[in-house]
């Protein structure tokens, strides 16, 4: 691992409501350097909550605590909201799942990319627009000038996701959180988007937090994998060492994956154990 850009120790997130409190994330610790780190886990295990806690964009009902949440030498939890706005977009940005919903439907996609640049760089609109066009081209959009003036409903899902990536890259952040960026895309488009993300990490040396529930995908795509279950990280492995998993949950997940050339008649089903939800050890 390279020097960590983001270092998180014992992150806890609690959703408070009038009925109950929900410990959505419990004592999660990890480091991310200039590499691709995956967070996998089933639906509701708290992956998105971790991602959004890092940029402090959870609903007001969520309480975030951590022993440490250091990013480029700053403690994100102690930053003022004003300072946090400088971090968002410029240093850390985030790609959401479905461009159909994550782009503003009544603003042209080009303006949305331009705005992302202008939030952090006080330049004339014309200059920002040129940057945006260049950025659109860099995510393999063929006719940026044409695409610039389209509205989100006029672009395809894959194109929308590339626009989203362009928008998030334009202020040149050092960490990108991608929350299931390919789940809403079909297979061929998915591969294109992954290739773009892959190039980013390699060429620009940025860190990528890749949230997914596709174990197959992450084991070939990511350097390291955190497995989450019921709000906790139950195991941390290198992508290429996933086969050596020790935790029952991870093994169970791997066993339930379909494999080509496998002769077994039916896939195994997870046999859940209560012990998996027991608190794991804290990290110093």
């Amino acid at each position: 691992m390279t020097d960590p850009i983001l270092s998180v120790r014992n992150l806890n997130v609690t959703y408070l409501s009038s009925r109950a409190t929900l410990n959505a994330v419990r004592n999660v610790s990890f480091d991310i350097g200039r590499e691709k780190v995956a967070i996998v886990g089933e639906s509701g295990s708290g992956k998105s909550t971790v991602g959004r806690a890092v940029v402090r964009l959870l609903t007001p009902s969520a309480k975030i605590t951590a022993d440490r949440m250091d990013f480029e030498g700053k403690n994100l939890l102690s930053l003022s909201e004003r300072k946090m706005q400088d971090v968002r977009g410029r240093r850390i940005s985030m790609i959401l799942q479905d461009p159909k919903y994550s782009l503003n439907p009544v603003v042209t996609v080009g303006e949305q990319v331009t705005e992302a640049y202008r939030v952090h760089n006080k330049v004339p609109h014309k200059e920002a627009k040129e940057r945006a066009l260049a950025q659109l081209a860099s995510v393999q959009i063929r006719d940026p000038a044409h695409v610039y003036d389209l509205y989100p409903h006029e672009v395809s899902g894959g194109m929308g996701q590339r626009i989203m990536i362009a928008m998030m890259l334009i202020p040149e952040p050092s960490l990108i959180i991608a929350d299931e960026p390919t789940s809403a895309l079909d297979v061929t488009v998915k591969l294109q988007v992954l290739a773009i993300l892959d190039d980013l990490v390699r060429d620009r040396g940025i860190g990528l937090m890749f949230i997914s529930h596709d174990l197959n995908l992450v084991q070939s795509f990511c350097d390291r994998v955190l497995i989450m279950y019921a709000g906790q990280v139950v195991e941390e492995l290198r992508g290429d060492e996933l086969g050596d998993a020790k935790h029952d949950y991870t093994k169970g997940l791997l066993a339930s994956l379909p494999r080509i050339g496998d002769r077994r008649g039916r896939l195994s089903v997870l046999d859940r154990k209560d012990s998996w939800s027991m608190p794991v050890e804290k990290r110093p």
Binding site: R52, V55, L57, E81, Q85, D86, V87, R88, G89, R90, S93, M94, L96, D98, Y101, S102, L103, N104, P105, V106, V107, E115, A116, V119, H120, Y151, H153, E154, M164, M167, M168, P171
Partner: protein, 353 residues
């Protein structure tokens, strides 16, 4: 689905759901609605009253007038012939003669209408100008004290009888504080100085340079306008809050926050753009229902507009004039409906392609 008061506010108003089609179907749809309006006013004005002739000429007319009107209405004819006559009269703008003024109803309406439009326009500017920011603010402070206070105040505004508020306003701002002029459009001694050009007294007096009249008119109009605007302010702010909450839970709001925009910038640069369409409809609708308030407020403030004309004709039971007014309100509503439909297309890119 929206529930509770907001749902009721929307569905009690027809305007919101009739999205007209385009082209031919648009024209057809408007014609059918107009025809329906005529049928309804025909039933109210000519079929429901026990003696439609008396309903038009009043009790005191002599036998000769009675016979003449009886002939005119063709009451000896079958009902569909009467209806046909009625429709053709209305289409030609022939609404009959008003007993009160002895002039054609249509001329009367053209004369009094600008006073109401002037009042209603200022009222809607107040209502939207205060209501929209208030609603947006309440949405951003959801479930916090400010939100509760705003919601409660708007509910009071929505529950207050407008005629009573007008009276209280007169007691307070005219009699006690002297901040506003009394009733009517200007002080008595200024009436008749400015000849109507546009019919809007504020504009006419400014054009002709009669600044004394202008100031007197301004002193007299602000109070009825604010009071008339209060209930639409309450309505607009509640709807704005509800629309805004819906937008603030959308994913694109997160996207905009991630870019580094402040919560406030996200509200005005992103979420607000998405509620423009709905706001336009709501404001058009509120403008239409201001006519309802105008009937009461004009009575309170002796405002010589359309509402006062309608009520004074109601008092003497001149159904010709009353039905003409009612028809006009209906047509106005259709017009507003159409307008909001057009603006809808302008503001929402998704309807264009």
């Amino acid at each position: 689905m929206r529930r509770g008061l907001e749902a009721m506010m929307i569905s009690n108003a027809g305007i919101l759901r009739t999205r007209f089609g385009t082209g031919l179907s648009l024209v057809a749809s408007i014609l059918v609605t107009l025809f329906g309006l005529l049928a309804l006013t025909f039933v109210i004005g000519r079929v429901m009253p026990v003696d439609p002739v008396l309903a038009i000429i009043g009790d005191e007319a002599n036998q000769e007038t009675y016979n003449r009107v009886y002939q005119q209405l063709g009451l000896d004819q079958p009902i569909y012939v009467q209806f046909f006559r009625y429709v053709s009269d209305m289409v030609q703008g022939n609404f009959g003669v008003a007993i009160l003024t002895g002039k054609p109803v249509i001329d009367d309406i053209i004369r009094v209408f600008p006073a109401t439009v002037e009042l209603a326009t200022l009222a809607i500017i107040f209502g939207a100008g205060v209501g929209i920011p208030l609603g947006v603010y309440a949405a951003t402070k959801r479930d916090r004290l400010a939100d509760h206070i705003i919601r409660f105040l708007t509910l009071i505004g929505y529950s207050t009888p407008v005629f009573w508020l007008g009276l209280i306003g007169l007691i307070l701002f005219y009699a006690k504080l002297g901040w506003s002029g009394g009733t009517g459009r200007v002080e008595i001694y200024y009436t008749g100085i400015v000849q109507p050009i546009t019919g809007f007294l504020l504009i006419d007096s400014a054009i002709t340079g009669e600044w004394d009249v202008f100031w007197s008119a301004a002193r007299n109009i602000w109070l009825p306008a604010v009071i008339l605007g209060t209930s639409s302010m309450a309505y607009i702010s509640r709807m704005t809050r509800s629309f805004m909450l819906e937008q603030l839970s959308q994913e694109y709001v997160i996207t905009a926050r991630i870019k580094g925009l402040s919560a406030r910038q996200v509200v005005w640069r992103h979420a607000f753009l998405n509620i423009r369409v709905q706001l336009v409809t709501i404001v058009a609708l509120a403008y239409g229902s201001l006519l309802e308030g105008a009937v009461l407020i004009e009575t309170v403030f002796s405002w010589p507009g359309f509402g006062a004309y309608l009520t004074s004709n109601l008092m003497i039971g001149d159904m010709n004039a009353v039905m003409a007014c009612v028809l006009l309100v209906g047509i106005l509503f259709i017009g507003l409906n159409l307008l909001s439909d057009i603006l809808y297309r302008v503001f929402d890119p998704r309807t264009r392609s």
